[in-house]
């Protein structure tokens, strides 16, 4: 996908800590100007990958390039990247302004240049008037902004962000997601962003790399990752998915472990053990036997209804398996309750066949 020289290029990067393999032969290219998310559960190797790019860890094997230059063995102070740390890591003994100016001072930037650049960076993150405050006099959101300014003021070629929104409360986090995305477009710098929150990754990134157990499982746009998960882990980790175990029994056909055969397009050879992934919001609930003709449908019984406010989740069981169906809470919805006999249907194209 990346056309020109990638901003970050990892080739067969492996990082071992003693016997533990934290990052397992990862190949990844991140394009210039991209907003890239490394997504995965804790301990999946995403933070170690980010620290390898920052120079806070050194790879055991492999090649690491930033805009074509091999940097794998350079210390962090000699790499053209800056990091926004998870808990911001603002220097507690310096004011906001001194924190922002730190990188420029260390690089012996002329004084006349430092002042306007610091002012611009502080304005960029809307922290005017807070210059003389110390970190402990700032709220979490304000510290976050100072940390961003402290990194961006150095005009890094790549900005690395380690769970930058993790410490903020929900409302603030949502506001900062939009702001961070807008900020990235404004400065045009490549952002590499680590998160365990799949919603955050989907909402903010141009592309997402999903990691588990040190391996990079899938790289793609949010749409690709959500609609076409590469394996069971990705399907399960991103959003909610009904994962129905079965076996490929013919072209575009899967027989589930409960004996029901459904249409499910895939390239997998017959006999392969698979799971069919179906998103709850892409399944529909009908009165028994009235599903649209072109839909795949199964008959079942409603086991449980969960009220979410904006939506309802119906758990429908059919032949020892069950499917969750999500329906928006709209006026005039049919009054379905536990015990009702129903038909569940979906477009054949909304399922994805995944392997372990």
């Amino acid at each position: 996908m990346p056309a020109a020289v990638p901003a970050v290029g990892l080739h067969s990067i492996t990082k071992r800590f003693g016997d533990v393999i934290a990052v397992d032969s990862v190949d990844l290219e991140i394009a210039d100007g991209e907003f890239f998310a490394l997504l995965g559960p804790s301990g999946c190797g995403k933070t170690t990958t980010l620290r390898l790019i920052a120079g806070l860890e050194f790879p055991t094997t492999g090649s690491l390039r930033i805009f074509g230059d091999e940097v794998g063995t350079l210390p962090p102070n000699r790499r053209p990247v800056n990091t926004v740390f998870q808990n911001y890591a603002l220097f507690p003994h310096m004011t906001a302004e001194e924190n922002v100016a730190f990188g420029l001072r260390m690089r012996k930037t002329p004084k006349s240049e430092i002042e306007p650049r610091v002012r611009d960076a502080i304005a960029l993150v809307h922290m005017e008037g807070m210059e003389q405050r110390r970190p402990d006099q700032l709220s979490g959101g304000q510290q976050q902004r100072v940390a961003l300014a402290r990194a961006l003021v150095n005009s890094p070629k790549v900005l690395l962000l380690d769970e930058p929104l993790g410490a903020l409360d929900l409302k603030l986090r949502e506001a900062m997601q939009l702001e961070l995305k807008a900020l990235q477009r404004e400065v045009g710098i490549t952002f590499v962003f680590v998160t365990h929150d799949q919603g955050e990754a989907l909402a903010m990134s141009d592309r997402i790399g999903v990691m588990d157990g040190g391996r990079l499982l899938q790289v793609g746009t949010p749409e690709e990752i959500y609609a076409r998960p590469a394996n069971r882990f990705v399907a399960d980790f991103i959003g909610h998915a009904n994962l129905l175990d079965g076996m490929v029994t013919g072209p575009d056909q899967v027989t589930l472990t409960n004996g029901i055969t459904i249409a499910a397009p895939s390239d997998i050879q017959p006999g392969g053990r698979v799971a069919v992934s179906l998103r709850p919001e892409q399944a529909f609930l009908h009165s028994l036997g009235v599903a649209p003709g072109h839909h795949t449908s199964v008959d079942g019984r409603v086991e449980q209804v969960t009220y979410l406010g904006n939506a309802l989740i119906y758990r429908v069981s059919f032949q020892w398996m069950h499917i969750d169906v999500r329906a928006e809470n709209r006026p005039g919805r049919a009054p379905v309750s536990a015990g009702d006999e129903v038909t569940v249907s979906w477009e054949p194209s909304s399922v994805a066949v995944v392997q372990d």
């Binding site: 102070n77 990091t83 808990n87 890591a89 220097f91």
Partner: protein, 304 residues
């Protein structure tokens, strides 16, 4: 503050009323409990610090009589005037100089070691801290005599320096031996507060320094050192204060030549029988120590 204004209904639940009187009584109770809890400490301080210190001050203002006794009359500042005499002044300066040097050496030796301990895993950290404490299991006096054997003319120190080709170095009964003994004795007092201060520093601040283009040395000077300053100050005071008033080490390793103030004060009380001069020297010593401690607490120190 009154919570209820209406009288409770006759057969309803009994509502509690929090009146200003009640709150004041509660606050009085709190402060009385606080006073009672700290009373033993106050009693100890008065009996074993304030009263003896007062006696020292009284004696420093008294007069030495011709038979070596002290007359508690004719109050004057003569003994303080004598502090300016060359012999006293030299000992004073030398004591301060030896204490400063001891403190600096302890700082330079202890800082890297404390950093090393603070960055280990908790298990190794605890083992290393126990190693730091082990010397305290042996009596201080005994350890000083051990040094006398080590540094003596037939001791291992001279053998080692000879083997190293710098000749048989005999430093016993020199200032070097005193400083060596003091550094040895008080090093743990530098290591522990330094360790506590460094251990508290968030490691990601060091990484942030490196990430923001600072070299290792710059990160030390701009980030690590300023943030560990409370530990540097605490350790320095804990080493400087006892070094300044040291008696046993200069006596044993310095050859009893009144190298330092402590020995000189003892001489004034026991040999020269000039109690006012001894008391005035003690007073000066105490004042310097208290001032150092006060400066530390004013600077917001918490590591003692």
């Amino acid at each position: 503050m009154t919570l209820t204004t209406a009288p409770p209904p006759a057969d309803g639940p009994v509502l509690l009323e929090v009146t200003p009187e009640f709150e004041r009584a509660a606050a009085r109770g709190d402060s009385r409990r606080g006073f009672l809890l700290s009373l033993p400490a106050y009693v100890y301080l008065v009996l074993f610090f304030a009263i003896p210190f007062g006696i020292v001050v009284v004696y420093s203002l008294a007069t030495r009589n011709t038979i070596g006794g002290t007359d508690l009359a004719g109050w004057n500042l003569d003994s303080y005037r004598r502090l300016a005499e060359p012999i006293v002044r030299d000992i004073l300066f030398r004591s301060v100089w030896i204490a400063v040097l001891t403190t600096l050496i302890c700082l330079v030796v202890a800082y890297p070691f404390s950093y090393f301990i603070a960055t280990r895993t908790p298990t190794i950290r605890n083992i290393l801290l126990v190693f730091v404490m082990i010397p305290f299991w042996t009596n201080f006096l005994v350890r000083n005599y051990a040094w006398r054997v080590i540094l003596g003319s037939d001791g291992p120190f001279a053998a080692v320096t000879e083997a190293l080709g710098v000749g048989r170095q005999e430093i016993l009964f020199t200032h070097s031996a005193v400083i060596l003994g003091l550094v040895y004795g008080y090093l743990p007092f530098m290591v522990l507060p330094l360790y506590a201060a460094i251990e508290r520093i968030d490691g990601s601040l060091i990484e942030a320094g490196r990430d923001l283009y600072a070299s290792g040395a710059q990160t030390f000077r701009r980030v690590l050192l300023p943030l560990s300053m409370p530990g540097v100050l605490a350790g320095s005071i804990l080493v400087f204060v006892p070094s300044l008033g040291a008696y046993v080490t200069p006596q044993i390793l310095g050859g009893g030549k009144s190298t330092m103030l402590g020995s000189y004060i003892v001489v004034q009380f026991l040999t020269a029988r000039n109690w006012p001069l001894g008391a005035s020297l003690s007073f000066v010593l105490m004042t310097v120590m208290l001032t150092a401690t006060l400066i530390y607490f004013r600077a917001g120190g918490r590591n003692l």
